[in-house]
């Protein structure tokens, strides 16, 4: 069916494996402190339990490191002096697979449970406490802060935040899960591609309101509602588009249509108006030879111009006639 050949990556990723079972048990924690904590930048770890066990497998790329960390629960602190000795600043993330991770940073305490993702910064003091008596198992990643240089909000975005498992059912969540499954068995190209995707997705999922739709909308959504939205999408230019028309098309009652919309944040009317306005906006911005505004309003099913003007203004806080100019200036 297909022929795909993939050569060696331009620059090979670096594989790192550490396993406490490959050394004397008594030295395990000491080894962990010396190798891992220097590998993953200065930390001050403490362990008070019985025999320490752990395994770390990680892959490093130009734009960060991703690894699977399994170990006896510890407490790790990043002190001011650790920070002063760090070579670069980065964003840490842990997708919890087993156990729990408490993160204290920026005056907040978060507890991440299995299925949740927690993010924090390396350049602000932080205390990590893994739930005692349960083996801690997580997918950990480190991304240099400079990777997000384009995003001016980076310092606010990733300062001790937890992403719930419900918000990880879209592309970010499934990319993370594929990394968990394939970290050692998939090729470096695959892990690297998934890692790049995560880097692009993190600011979207955490930074913007629409992240919630991105991560939950695609996976969930009632099939009937999707059918209704699809029909609406095809018929936006029809000025007679109404709940009754959609109900007739789906073979359900008008009441049922309203019920479908009650599961969303909008009503039938506000949704249709919103969709129509988005299209007018696109047309205003994208047409090289702008048609008259009245023609656009008519094309998208607005019956009268004053209703259109009012709706446009309330959505975009700007009159349609001035919309394009504001962008250009």
């Amino acid at each position: 069916m297909s022929s795909i050949s993939v050569g060696a990556p331009a620059r090979a990723a670096r594989l790192f494996v550490w396993d406490s079972r490959l050394g004397p048990p008594t030295r395990a924690f000491g080894m962990f402190r010396e190798t891992i904590c220097s590998e993953f930048m200065p930390w001050t770890p403490e362990y008070s339990g019985a025999e320490f066990q752990g395994r770390v497998e990680s892959l490093s790329f130009d734009n960060g490191t991703v690894g699977r960390v399994r170990m006896s629960p510890i407490t790790a602190t990043k002190t001011k002096s650790n920070i002063a000795n760090s070579v670069f600043e980065c964003i840490h993330g842990n997708l919890i697979i087993g156990g729990e991770l408490k993160v204290e940073q920026a005056g907040r305490t978060n507890i991440a449970k299995p299925g949740e993702l927690v993010l924090y910064q390396s350049y602000d003091p932080v205390v990590l406490t893994e739930k005692p008596d349960v083996p801690c198992d997580n997918l950990a990643f480190i991304i240099p802060r400079s990777v997000f240089a384009d995003d001016s909000n980076v310092d606010d975005l990733f300062r001790n935040v937890v992403v719930s498992s419900e918000r990880l059912s879209g592309p970010l969540g499934s990319s993370l899960n594929l990394m968990v499954k394939g970290l050692l068995t998939s090729s470096e190209i695959e892990i690297s591609g998934l890692f790049d995707a995560c880097i692009a997705l993190l600011p979207l999922v955490i930074g913007t309101g629409f992240g919630e739709h991105l991560e939950s909308g695609a996976a969930k959504g009632n099939r009937r509602l999707r059918e209704a939205l699809r029909y609406i999408d095809r018929n936006l230019s029809n000025p007679d588009l109404s709940p009754a028309l959609v109900a007739a098309h789906l073979g359900v009652s008008v009441r049922y249509i309203h019920k479908l919309f009650s599961t969303t944040a909008e009503t039938f009317g506000s949704y249709v108006t919103g969709q129509r306005l988005e299209r007018v906006k696109w047309d205003l911005l994208a047409c090289s030879q702008k048609p008259p505004i009245a023609a656009m309003a008519y094309r998208w099913g607005f019956g009268d111009l004053s209703t259109f003007n009012r709706a446009f203004k309330s959505r975009f806080a700007c009159a349609p006639s001035r919309f394009g100019t504001r962008i250009d200036s």
Partner: protein
């Protein structure tokens, strides 16, 4: 799914480099005389996707709409129109400023793509990829309007493709074999391209081009080439393989533990493997050997004897381990270590 208010204007305004800002483009047959619609459509396609020769399949009035986003490293467009036949021959190939990868995500109708020896058909939910270096014919088939999301990814500009150095030639990534993050990303883009801020659409384009090589590799190694009996069995096999993957380092991993985990009979576990012409035991051994080979070349384990690494993955007898390692890889563990490092 339902778009919300956005701050598009503000976002574009704050963009430091206006040259890199995504540019929107549009074709809509409603906004002009119907006689000019097809010509304008051609212009739209060639503007976003480099030269194509485009023919319509019948003389009916041509109508539809296409919304496009031109990005620094490629383009995305959502198109809905009468079915067309599009092709690129020598003249069009030579007229393209840069090499790229094309991809179409079919939303309604069917897309037939012929390139080299490949002759592929994409249905709703499938993604088809092909490249700019060779002649291609893409024929849309649909009773109603044909609808799809089209992508152009410039090879030399796309870090993910460059890094992968991937030769993504003509391939079909069907809805069933598509990795979950790519499916979610495409579905979201197909529903929301219009409503999300262009900066975010551009970020999703990067997600798409990062995941494309991953998805292509996933179908290439899709657990054997035999067609599956049914999807239920297929997903069961997938669950079984996932269970094994996550329990490889567990010495108690056995057909019995897998059967208990999945709630199926021991017999069925063996049957699933038999249909792939494998056995449970040979599969697990082979996977463990893969792990060992990777561990052997890890810096931190450089000085560990090979048998100690093997013991950690459940191989108790060093001489037996050496023998099966050599059987699988054709070299001894020690030699593999030298080759890999």
């Amino acid at each position: 799914m339902i778009p919300r208010l956005d701050s598009w204007g503000k976002k574009l305004g704050t963009s430091a480099n206006t040259q890199d800002a995504p540019k929107t483009c549009l074709w809509d047959s409603h906004y002009g005389p119907s006689t000019a619609a097809f010509g304008a459509f051609r212009q739209f396609i060639c503007g976003a996707f480099f030269p194509w020769s485009i023919e319509r399949q019948c003389d009916d009035a041509f109508h539809g709409r296409a919304e496009g986003l031109i990005l620094p490293t490629g383009a995305i467009a959502k198109t809905r129109s009468n079915p067309i036949t599009a092709s690129r021959d020598r003249a069009e190939l030579n007229g393209s400023p840069t090499e790229c990868i094309y991809a179409n995500y079919v939303m309604s109708g069917e897309l037939h793509v012929q390139q080299g020896q490949h002759d592929l058909v994409a249905k709703r939910g499938d993604l088809i990829i092909y490249e700019s270096r060779h002649p291609v014919i893409a024929k849309e088939k649909s009773d109603g309007p044909f609808e799809n999301l089209s992508f152009r990814i410039d090879r030399d500009q796309s870090a993910s493709l460059e890094k992968a150095d991937a030769d993504l030639s003509c391939a079909l990534i069907s809805a069933e074999t598509m990795i979950a993050p790519l499916a979610a990303c495409l579905f979201y883009l197909s529903e929301n391209l219009l409503a999300i801020p262009t900066g975010e659409a551009a970020a999703l384009f990067n997600v798409f081009s990062s995941l494309l090589p991953v998805a292509a590799l996933a179908i290439a190694k899709d657990y054997g080439t035999q067609p599956q009996k049914n999807s239920a069995q297929r997903s069961l096999m997938r669950e079984l393989l996932e269970y094994i993957e996550t329990h490889l380092s567990d010495p108690d991993l056995s057909p019995k533990s897998a059967a208990a985990e999945l709630g199926i009979s021991l017999r069925y576990v063996h049957k699933l493997f038999a249909e792939k012409a494998m056995t449970f035991c040979s599969y697990v051994t082979s996977k463990r050997l893969d792990h060992i080979r990777r561990d052997l070349s890890a810096d931190a384990l450089r000085n560990e004897p090979a048998y100690a690494v093997a013991a950690r993955w459940g191989f108790e007898d060093p001489s037996a381990f050496n023998r099966i390692f050599k059987e699988k890889f054709g070299v001894t563990p020690g030699r593999a270590r030298t080759i890999d490092s």
